[in-house]
């Protein structure tokens, strides 16, 4: 993480990130200001809750003339927030269903029927107990104390 933070010091405050940010058109997300806050006030990226508005579209990161991995920095900061405050909105439900079914989007009975009507097999881990257990173990092992 320190490596990524050091990257922020390369910022020249040109504002290409903010100008490229689709989410920032309608939200408080302003990457240039977030970086400035770190550079001048040593306020870490994870104090800015508005980073949850990031779409992870990678436009800022791709266009940054200093090659700073901005999107990766946002995702890392989110990891630190989730350890302190848990996941926002319906995201904790998503993690729960990953653990339980190996799926973020789970098939209900109606979807099973529709797949069958199209002659398609059921082969998602959700439908195999052994596979489900494997995923459950991975989530338990690697979600690193995130509040589910």
């Amino acid at each position: 993480m320190n490596e990524l933070k050091n990257e922020l010091k390369k910022c020249i405050q040109c504002g290409t990130c903010t100008a490229s940010c689709f989410s920032g058109r309608v939200t408080a997300l302003n990457m240039r200001k977030i970086v400035m806050d770190y550079l001048s006030n040593e306020r870490s990226v994870d104090v800015h809750d508005e980073i949850w508005f990031c779409l992870s579209c990678y436009a800022c990161q791709e266009r940054c003339p200093r090659g700073i991995k901005l999107t990766e920095i946002i995702l890392k900061a989110r990891q630190r927030i989730t350890r302190k405050k848990g996941l926002p909105g319906r995201l904790s439900l998503a993690l729960n269903s990953l653990k339980k079914f190996g799926a973020l989007v789970v098939a209900k009975e109606e979807h099973v029927k529709m797949r069958k009507s199209l002659g398609l097999p059921l082969y998602h881990a959700q439908f195999d107990e052994k596979a489900r257990k494997e995923i459950e173990k991975l989530v338990e092992k690697y979600s690193e104390g995130v509040l589910i």
Binding site: L55, L118, Y123, L138
Partner: protein, 270 residues
């Protein structure tokens, strides 16, 4: 090749899967389901929790088979190609595959041209982050515009063409209102160009455009622009029945659009 549908296609948009099997059959290429796959896992959401979790679940999926893996979802494509690159594994997006390897053959297998005016939407993770996506421009991709031309449709430019659908990064799950506002910015740009449909190459974008419009309808905002995955459109152009494509299971399906898909334009009429 093994097909990796991801949760969205396996559990919601089965028509995309059906269309892919149909296309591969017409192209006389082998494709089989990747049994016991799980969520890829979704890059934006899972990397907001733990890099290791993201990596290990992807690794499990990649280890289910030694075959090359093909996917029709931008999120699955990003996760599996990034993790796959550390394991020496090739992962392809069906759109990149069709364009790079099969475009000439597709032209020969078209049974009916479908002359639509369409707005193509790439979806961010098809072309960004660009590190493992050297086949495509990270600013203005053209692959999909060329692929819709092959089936006789016209791709029109519109405002915010290369921007996100508004649903990515967990935003649709954590802040629905933001996702909706961004969706409307895209839809307004598309509406201005008076198109028959939006063509996407990712089931999450499809969900955001299609179910998102249904939600907007409930708020009294009507756009009525149908959304279709490119492989559904291609399969129909190759002769598949509309019902098999799953398009009638989508929320926004205006009758004039369905009629255009069914009728098409056979080569005899040209």
């Amino acid at each position: 090749m093994k097909f990796f549908p991801g949760c969205m296609i396996h559990n919601r948009y089965f028509g995309i899967e059906k269309s892919i099997y149909y296309i591969f059959e017409k192209l006389e290429e082998d494709i089989e389901p990747l049994y016991n796959f799980s969520c890829c896992p979704a890059p934006g959401i899972t990397k907001s929790i733990s890099d290791k979790l993201w990596f290990e679940i992807a690794k499990r999926n990649l280890n289910l088979s030694d075959d090359d893996i093909i996917t029709a979802c931008n999120g699955c494509f990003t996760t599996l190609s990034e993790v796959g690159s550390t394991m020496g594994r090739e992962v392809r997006h069906v759109i990149e595959y069709l364009y790079t390897d099969k475009i000439k053959e597709i032209k020969r297998k078209i049974a009916k041209r479908i002359p639509l005016r369409v707005a193509v939407h790439y979806g961010c993770h098809f072309f960004r982050p660009s590190i493992h996506k050297k086949f495509v421009s990270s600013e203005k991709p053209k692959i999909l515009d060329k692929l819709v031309k092959v089936i006789g449709s016209e791709s029109v430019d519109y405002r915010y063409k290369f921007m996100c659908c508004g649903g990515g990064g967990g935003v649709r799950a954590s802040s629905l209102e933001v996702a909706r506002e961004l969706l409307e910015m895209k839809l307004r740009g598309i509406k201005e160009r008076n198109v028959d449909a939006i063509v996407v190459i990712c089931p999450l974008c499809l969900h955001q455009f299609d179910v998102g419009q249904k939600e907007l309808n409930q708020l009294g905002k009507r756009y009525e622009i149908p959304t279709i995955h490119y492989v559904q459109l291609l399969a129909i152009a190759m002769g598949m029945d509309i019902e098999e494509s799953g398009i009638d299971m989508h929320e926004i399906t205006p009758p004039q659009f369905m009629e255009k898909l069914i009728r098409g334009e056979s080569f005899e009429e040209l």
